[in-house]
Symmetry: C2
Subunit: 450 residues, 2 copies
């Protein structure tokens, strides 16, 4: 049995390891155009920050380790075509093309940073994206010799890099073309993120929203200036583009696989694509949302691992269902933890619910404790059914604890009334007497009359 896997960062690496354990006699091959396999790309901002000095700590499993367990990894081998009829793929190794036949194909081609087509964007060597290990190394080296940087985009990676650069003493300008930071959150929560970040005294960063970059300018191979839509000119030593990601689905699309509305590959709960014996997993494919079952595209490392495992199980003939995601995500930027799960109010509206929400700002522990912090928690429910739909929390690290507690309720499809009965742990260093999540539930109950 020939098992071929395209891509090997998270989903592909996980799928390969799993299927080899399930089918020890099968031939398992990973093809990737990357220079590394099986690594934690989510850790790159922390490597850049200098939280650890050696980038090899990001590597989960080396080519040699794969080899030892009987898996062949082909680095810098780009798959250019999938032939569903002949059941083979075309691989280019920078010298020539060759065919590799498969009995089961697992597509884990991931996603890549979106590059906005701005004047000059391709003309300079100091305009970076962050996706792969070598991107991280380049950005860290550039940071160490620089004083000023511009970050384009204020999503998760943009804010993680903001922290990294600020902690390394750089003067940072972050530009977001939308009218607010962290557009994955609701507008009111974006405002709180901004307020918290701008409350930092003597800060060496500037947050610009509602403004986009229209030109990169410079002499020679380095851009030295960023020009924005308002005519603002910002001098910089380098630029990182953090303008979101797009799924790598070109070869899947050309092969005729069904692509979802999001632009990612359509799969069922067994991670099967529209072609028999062809699976997809990780950032290149859609997934069902746990709350309403609809297809969404939420490219995240935790999901990629689960999907890789599920694809491998089914490719090995063991019926396994991946029920879906909640879109749970968290990150940190300096003094601010940002955590979310389920639908935002805006998403809930888009999906046809009648959302109702409450927002509370509460201490994360009893006020007399010296380490006390605070966070703002927004919980969204459906006005018609009382069903919990999602939550967002911004503030101290305690924000994340509450969002994960809420995620369990969403998985169980609990109503506000049901979840309001919850019994959280309490002790002065861990929570106020009444947990902020229960405060929010009680307020929601009052609004819903439940």
């Amino acid at each position: 049995m020939n098992i071929v896997i395209i891509g090997g960062v998270a989903a592909g690496a996980k799928a390969a390891a799993k299927i080899k354990r399930l089918l020890p006699d099968a031939s398992v091959k990973i093809f990737t155009d990357d220079t590394h396999v099986s690594y934690s790309s989510c850790g790159l901002p922390y490597y850049i920050q200098g939280n650890f000095k050696d980038y090899t700590m990001l590597l989960v499993r080396s080519v040699e380790e794969f080899k030892k367990s009987g898996i062949d990894v082909y680095l810098q081998h780009k798959v250019t075509k999938i032939d569903l009829k002949s059941k083979n793929i075309t691989v280019n190794n920078n010298f020539n093309d060759f065919y590799v036949p498969y009995d089961r194909l697992i597509i884990a081609t991931g996603a890549r940073p979106f590059i906005p087509e701005v004047k000059g964007v391709h003309d300079y060597t100091n305009i970076y994206i962050l996706r792969k290990i070598e991107d991280g190394i380049k950005i860290r080296n550039k940071m160490l010799e620089s004083k000023k940087v511009v970050i384009a985009g204020s999503g998760f990676i943009g804010l993680e890099l903001l922290e990294a650069f600020v902690q390394n003493g750089l003067e940072v300008t972050l530009i977001e073309r939308k009218n607010r930071l962290m557009p994955a959150f609701d507008e009111d929560m974006s405002k709180i993120i901004r307020d918290r970040l701008e409350s930092i005294e003597n800060r060496s960063f500037k947050l610009i929203t509602d403004e986009s970059i229209v030109e990169f300018a410079g002499e020679g191979e380095n851009a030295s200036k960023v020009i924005t839509s308002t005519g603002r000119e910002i001098e910089t030593d380098f630029v990182v583009l953090c303008a979101g990601v797009v799924p790598n689905t070109e070869i899947a699309r050309e092969a005729g696989l069904i692509i979802g509305k999001s632009g990612a590959i359509k799969v069922n709960k067994l991670m099967q694509t529209s072609a028999v014996n062809v699976f997809a997993c990780g950032d290149c494919c859609e997934e069902p949302h746990l709350i309403n079952g609809q297809s969404v595209w939420v490219p995240l490392g935790s999901t990629a691992n689960k999907e890789g495992r599920c694809a491998a199980m089914n490719a090995a003939g063991i019926y396994t269902v991946f029920e879906g995601v909640l879109g749970s995500a968290v990150t940190r930027c300096l003094n601010t933890t940002m955590s979310m799960t389920g639908f935002t109010e805006r998403e809930a509206q888009n999906f046809g619910y009648t959302p109702i929400s409450v927002t509370v700002n509460k201490n994360d522990m009893v006020a007399y404790m010296p380490e006390v912090g605070d966070f703002t928690l927004k919980v969204v429910a459906d006005k018609v059914t009382g069903l919990l739909l999602g939550g967002q929390a911004v503030g101290s690290i305690g924000a994340d604890k509450r969002i994960n507690a809420l995620a369990g309720a969403l998985t169980g499809r609990l109503t506000v009334r049901e979840f309001a009965n919850n019994d959280f742990t309490y002790s002065p260093p861990f929570s106020p007497t009444i947990d902020p999540l229960l405060d929010a539930m009680n307020l929601l109950c009052a609004k819903l009359g439940c």
Copy 2:
């Protein structure tokens, strides 16, 4: 309408404030034998530790504030009798007895430390218990002039005081008569608590289990020696008894109210006792367990607040149900967070389940992060139905986040299979790629064949 409340720490204070808001024209009186009203007794170990210097930070609402909102507080007024027939109580103010009539009575008499009847226990002034504000003040003052202390008992308060005394440079001996620390946890988790605490280098404390104090000895008014069941003699400057608590139910019992098996007052979900118009709430009464509805006695500050609110609502004629507790609890001792929810394996067995459990030891974030810690998580489920029954986590602070996530699943009565679909937040400073809770769920699924 005369509303009389007996006790005013957490449940009583909450009930008074709530009912006065609901029935502004009613007369609301709190009688308490305490010298303070409305305070955070859970904060006393942190006050003793010196996390904050002023004990008044523990006070939630003063007598004057109650007065301002129309509530009369009678400090150092001991209620000695409830007459259900005449609908009045007998109050002693240290000078004489008087009667107070009620239309609604709310009993919130709380609990008190259990004092083991050991030779000499009543003979010395340096043997303390910790319950009230003045206890905390006395213990802190004594600690500041002492070098050695013996703690009797290794429950929540015992371990919180261990931290307090160690952080203040004392040499601490903790003696637990059971064969393990923190007997509220399962035996295997107790062992982990002990191993973690004893892994602290150059520690100034000694943990003794399976040994009880048989005598306090000394000259004059101070005990200077503790003698144990093995003949061990321990010199000390003072002693704190942390041997558990007993509910204050004497007057309720004498009045003829039904008392539960636990020894605490029996109430229904409306916090009604067996007598009409008489309610009980807080540490003096039982509560239903959310998982199986059976009456349990779990005296905790968070519960007391909820029950006080519920009693007030129903006493005011507004139908309100308190669904119950999970026994969720958390505390910290030096390098160790201990968090639990639902049934332990032992409790599950006692309640007639066929418990099955898994225990995992995992990092609390990705291994390359400099702040990485680890914790051990045990999850208990019912083998017959696959229902989740409880969890315990011991280790780094991340332990508590997982227990609270599990509590939501218990509230929703989810099975292992259902909760295994959960989508937790992931980012290197917050969690490993696969959250430890999901690792545990996957292992449980494998054991259950689900």
